[in-house]
């Protein structure tokens, strides 16, 4: 901070009226309250996940574990179902994201070319799908007829292009200096060349946004697992496993059999309550780590397509 700025600040502070002071205090209090309400549940969950499971049942765990332990994490990472689910989650996130980003960018490029004859047609057929959808049962029957039920493909194929992504990327390409693409053409580069060597590298900011949104969406999805693959244990994902743990109290299907685990002797120390907290942390940590780094990109990306979320 320069000297000039400090003086300016001092001047402003002196100039502030009592009303301003009250506002300032109320404002900061409200915002800090928001931060606390946002963070507390996550910190509390983290504390419970690091606390001895039977001890947690006594209650009174707030921000810090009372009896530190990594048993909960050990249990979670030794559970074969969960390891497999984590693998499927990562796989669908990586494949789904790469494919979506690539395909959306490619179509976006074509509909950003003013000379393209099918430009209006392609744009309209994609945009129209924002206004309607076939609905649950017709989509389900389609997946069945395509033979996608009970396969990994059901996580990927229906989602390779999102219309929102398409609009965001197209708008971004349209705002690029067209001289770059023209000079590439003059140098004899074909459409594919221009797309791969010129457009894709220039689109990094918007592609990062789309990748983040798609990645988070893929990572957080559980409903398609439940709908299409609930009988295929090996295709389950972390979110779906967590959802089943959460539904445990309602006594539905349960994959992690705590009673059986306890009977084997090794895991008496684990309770559904602790497992639930641990899995919530495991599932959220990757997302929480990634999004702050992409903040400056997605804030811009949101604005380009800001009208429809």
């Amino acid at each position: 901070m320069t000297k000039g700025r400090i003086q300016k600040l001092k001047k402003r502070v002196r100039r502030m009226s009592p009303g301003d002071w009250i506002f300032e205090i109320v404002n900061y209090t409200l915002l800090i309250l928001l931060v606390v309400v946002t963070l507390y549940p996550m910190v509390n969950t983290l504390a419970v996940s690091l606390n001895d499971a039977t001890d947690s049942l006594r209650g009174g765990i707030y921000l810090w574990p009372r009896k530190w332990t990594f048993e909960n994490y050990k249990f979670v990472f030794q559970e074969a179902n969960i390891i497999n689910a984590a693998f499927i989650s990562v796989l669908r996130t990586v494949i789904g994201t790469v494919l979506t980003v690539f395909c959306s960018a490619m179509v976006a490029y074509t509909i950003s070319r003013p000379e393209y004859v099918l430009r209006r047609f392609v744009t309209v057929v994609f945009i129209l799908t924002m206004y309607f959808n076939g609905g649950l049962i017709p989509t389900y029957l389609l997946m069945r007829n395509l033979g996608l039920i009970g396969t990994f493909g059901v996580y990927i194929w229906p989602n390779i292009i999102g219309v929102f992504n398409l609009i965001v990327i197209r708008t971004f390409i349209e705002n690029l200096p067209s001289s770059l693409m023209e000079s590439a053409k003059i140098d004899g580069a074909g459409e594919f060349r221009t797309f791969f060597n010129i457009v894709l590298p220039l689109c990094t900011p918007v592609l990062a946004t789309v990748a983040l949104f798609t990645g988070v969406w893929q990572w957080n999805s559980w409903f398609d697992v439940f709908l299409y693959n609930s009988s295929k244990g090996h295709l389950s994902t972390l979110q779906y496993e967590l959802q089943k743990v959460l539904a445990f109290s309602n006594a539905s299907i349960q994959r992690i059999d705590f009673q059986a685990a306890a009977a084997q002797g090794g895991f008496q120390k684990v309770t559904p309550y602790a497992i639930r907290a641990t899995m919530m942390i495991v599932v959220s940590v990757p997302v929480i780590i990634v999004y702050p780094f992409l903040q400056k990109y997605f804030v811009k990306g949101m604005l380009v397509g800001g009208v429809k979320e």
Partner: protein, 322 residues
């Protein structure tokens, strides 16, 4: 002679450009690279997004799985008639619209308020930290969010704990068991999850307000609140109006995950919305026809609403959707 004539004619013809289908196909061949890059995805789109519309025929049949299309019995609008005479459906419709309105009103007021508050923060580091943290819940899955909400509102959760300590209640409240409280819990949940995220658009709109307006207001003796009321809010009025209209278009889309994940036997009369109704009839009870009828109703109403909303928004000239 003849040769000469055709030679001179051809370039002229090219200059005038052949019209209609011929020109279209010529361009198509010329732009085959672009065609190759987009048409496969159009085919994909037709299969995955347009083909399911065919399934809407199920709503007009007495659909029996296993029979072919031609063997199904057609019943016309019977299922729709049944729906609108069905108390459960009307209840579900009520829940959908109420929760949608809660989402709309609460979502807008909290996000605009937060944006205004953030805008008044002079300490940029503090502002940035608050913003980053406020975006976090948006990135968490609804499964995790539902887990958090259930833990927070449990009998031994922090809310009961605080209320007991403050002496506001005599014994713990089973929040998730009180059906009539579900809408409130739903409202609080969506605000918790998305209030920070929804400020992005407003903060951007605030950022482009002409600073001269603030200076002028200051010279006129306007304090903080006057500036907020007379400069900032009018400055983002258009964005607010457009977003409001767009959101009204999604009146029947009150979301699925929060209601499904937070719903239970005790609050089902308040938590069940159209999407859950469709799921229950379709997947759990195998009544495909009724389920499809309900989702057609939803899609058609949504289509009309979104289309109208988009057109109004476009006429206001503030957005460019496509």
């Amino acid at each position: 002679m003849d040769n000469n004539l055709t030679l001179t004619k051809v370039p002229v013809a090219v200059k005038q450009k052949p019209k209609g289908i011929k020109r279209f196909f010529k361009l198509l061949v010329q732009q085959r690279a672009l065609v190759l890059m987009s048409v496969p995805f159009v085919i994909w789109l037709f299969i995955f997004k347009y083909l399911p519309i065919w399934g809407w025929t199920i709503a007009f049949q007495d659909y029996k799985p296993g029979r072919s299309f031609w063997e199904q019995q057609w019943v016309g609008f019977e299922h729709f008639k049944f729906l609108f005479g069905n108390d459960r459906f009307l209840l579900v419709l009520r829940n959908t619209i109420v929760m949608s309105l809660i989402n709309l009103v609460l979502g807008f007021t909290t996000a605009i308020t937060l944006a205004l508050l953030l805008n008044e923060v002079r300490n940029l580091t503090f502002k940035r930290v608050v913003q980053t943290i406020s975006y976090m819940p948006h990135f968490l899955s609804w499964v995790v969010a539902a887990g958090i909400i259930q833990t927070t509102l449990a009998l031994d959760g922090i809310v009961n704990d605080l209320l007991m300590r403050l002496g506001l209640i005599k014994e713990e409240i089973l929040f998730m068991g009180k059906g009539e409280w579900f809408w409130g819990i739903y409202g609080a949940s969506i605000v918790w999850k998305d209030v920070g995220w929804n400020t992005i658009v407003y903060l951007a709109a605030i950022a482009v307000i002409d600073p001269g307006l603030y200076e002028a207001a200051e010279i006129d003796g306007a304090g903080r609140f006057r500036k907020m009321w007379h400069v900032t809010l009018p400055g983002i009025r258009n964005v607010i109006i457009v977003l409001l209209i767009m959101n009204i278009g999604y009146l029947l889309e009150s979301g699925f995950e929060p209601q499904y994940l937070l719903g239970n036997g005790m609050n089902i009369d308040y938590s069940e919305n159209l999407d859950i109704f469709v799921l229950n009839y379709g997947i759990k009870q195998y009544n495909y026809s009724l389920s499809v009828a309900a989702s057609i109703f939803k899609t058609v109403v949504s289509f009309v609403l979104i289309f109208a909303a988009n057109n109004i928004a476009k006429r206001l000239g503030e957005v460019r959707l496509y």
